[in-house]
Each structure stands twice: as C-alpha cells, then as structure tokens.
C-alpha cells in the first residue's frame, strides 16, 4: 500500500509540483544577429510576472508552444498578431504596445558593430 502511494506521488504529484514552480526570467536571443543590427539587446521575458496575471492555458499551447526554442518568434510575427502581439496581449489596450522597445529589449541604443 505504501509503495503504491509513493509511486502515485512520483507519477502525479512531482511533475505537477515542478510545473507549478515559478519559471523565472527567460532570455530570448535566438535572433541576436538581427537584434544587433537593429541596435537592441536580447529580450528578458519575465515569466513569473505573467504567471501572476494569467493562467498557464491562457498562453500555452495556443500562443506559445511549451518547449523552449520551438517558438520561432520574431518582431515581425509579433507585429502580425502572433506570440507577444496576440490580439488580447501586446497588440491591445490590455498591455503596453509593441512600439515601446525598451520595455522588453535590453541594451537599447547600444551600437554593436
């Protein structure tokens, strides 16, 4: 009976706890070469801040795939209403608009060339 319970905990409770744990900041720099040309630095995405405001399934998996590196995001995609620029997010009055570069990008205005 005890063994059965421990297996149950291993299968169900541990992954759930891991999922609920705060993810923290995510560094988005897959397009770093393009970002350098544009004079902006990588985006530090505050996952924890969004966790407080929204439920997981508000964004996953409809807007963002869960696995890191599988969302081929670009500023153009955001402008076209995908990812961060989804209709109810940063392309709407609910959140700050996309043109506010410094709110997401770090090192804005620093010329690297």
């Amino acid at each position: 009976m005890k063994r059965c319970l421990s297996i149950f905990i291993l299968i169900v409770a541990v992954p759930a706890a891991a999922g609920a744990a705060s993810i923290g900041d995510i560094r988005l720099d897959s397009k770093i070469e393009s970002m350098k040309k544009a004079g902006v630095g990588p985006v530090i995405y505050p996952h924890a801040l969004h966790e407080k405001l929204y439920k997981c399934n508000d964004c996953h998996p409809k807007i963002f795939k869960d696995k890191r590196g599988t969302n081929n995001m670009s500023m153009k995609m955001n402008m076209d209403g995908k990812f961060c620029g989804a209709a109810d997010c940063h392309n709407s009055p609910n959140a700050f608009p996309l043109f506010n570069c410094v709110k997401c990008h770090t090192n804005v205005g620093v010329k690297v060339k």
Binding site: E33, M79, G109
Partner: protein
C-alpha cells in the same frame, strides 16, 4: 440740463437695444449687459462684432450633422467663419475641442476609433485653405514614396508616402529641421521615434499613433524566412 438728460436716455435706450439684439443672436448673457453701464463710447463699438456672429449663426444648420463640428462645447458657434480673422480667435474666446461634435460629425475612423485624416483628404470631406494669406498658392502634393529600410532582418520595411504628407504640409515643415532631405542621411531609430524624434514629432501627438506597426512597416523583407 433737460437736453443732456434726454441725450443720456437716448444713449441708454440704444445700448439696451443693442444688448437685446446681441442676446437674441448669441444666447449669452455675460457679454451683453456690458454696454448698458458704460457710456456712449462703447455703444458705437459694440454692434460691429455682433453682426458677424449673426451671419455665422445663420450659416450653421443645426439639423445637418456635419455642422456640429462648428459648435463649441456649449453648443454655440465656435469661431466666426471669417477667413480674414486669425484662426485662434475662437480659442482665445475660451472655445475648445468638442469631442462629441467630432464624433457626431460622421468623420471616418480607423480601426482604433481615431479620426482617419488620410481618408478625409482622399474623399474630399474637408478641404482646408492652403494658407491664411489669400495670395499664397497651394503647392500640389509630391508623389514620391521613400523606402526606409528597417534595421533588423525580420521587421518589414517602411514605405513613406510623401503624397499624403504634402496635402496639408509644406516642405519646410519637416525639411531640413526634422529630416535631412537626402536619402540615408537620417539615422532614424524606433526608440527615437517613440521618444518624439523624426516621425514621432507628429505621430502619437497630432497624427495617428505608433500602435499599429504594420501601418508603416508595410513592405515585407524578401529575405525574411
């Protein structure tokens, strides 16, 4: 003694007549009773502006929804419709924007609910004068598109239409103080524009805001994957 009192009575009668006439035309009380107290000098000056208000009042048809734009926040005629007078006269008199009137005037709106001035120009809904100076000729719009390459690899390029901007603006509004009139010599950045440089001098203030990226970033890069 008797003759002078008769004169005063006559002046007072004239003043009250003017005041009543002014009240009937504008529907305001604050400006009308002023000439009653003051003597004969102001009585002569008073009727002239009142007549102009009467002329503009008859020109505005309150039943026509497009005429609401000419009314101020209290529903009185804003401005006197006289091109020989400076445009700020209505503003000096305490008249301001009338948001309800603007929305009731049926002006075309963009998807954000803001007045689409470009559409107003294209459809000839309003046709403002080229200048307050009647002798100044209007310069025809310059049909010249400028491609402004976006610095990043993914963001679409900007096609800047000179044509839309030169309907109401002269060259020296923007050149050379805001933009150096030579291609590639303005090192524009989106951050600078957001902070009020270059396009941001007008866009986000008097022209449509920066919210809709694709309104300007309209030419996709061929190389983008």
């Amino acid at each position: 003694m008797k003759a002078s009192s008769f004169k005063r009575l006559k002046a007072a009668l004239l003043c009250s007549l003017v005041a009543v006439f002014g009240y009937a035309v504008t529907g305001t009380v604050e400006s009308a009773p002023a000439p009653k107290k003051s003597g004969d000098q102001s009585a002569a000056a008073a009727p002239a502006p009142k007549k102009e208000t009467a002329a503009s009042a008859t020109r505005i048809d309150p039943k026509d929804p497009s005429s609401v734009i000419y009314l101020d926040t209290q529903g009185r005629p804003a401005g006197i419709g006289d091109p020989s007078k400076p445009a700020s006269q209505a503003f000096k008199a305490g008249m301001g924007w009338h948001p309800q009137a603007l929305s009731a005037a049926g002006l075309p709106k963009d998807k954000y609910g803001l007045v689409d001035w470009a559409k107003l120009v294209r459809q000839n809904i309003i046709s403002p004068k080229a200048s307050l100076d009647p002798e100044e000729e209007e310069i025809p719009p310059l049909k010249m598109d400028v491609v402004i390459t976006a610095k990043g690899d993914y963001v679409s390029d900007v096609i800047y239409p000179h044509e839309m901007h030169t309907y109401w603006l002269k060259c020296d509004v923007c050149h050379p103080s805001i933009f150096v009139p030579a291609k590639g010599s303005n090192d524009m950045t989106m951050v600078g524009i957001v902070q009020g440089q270059w396009c941001g001098r007008c866009h986000g203030k008097v022209a449509f805001p920066l919210t809709d990226c694709n309104k300007c970033h309209s030419a996709p890069k061929k190389a983008s994957k």
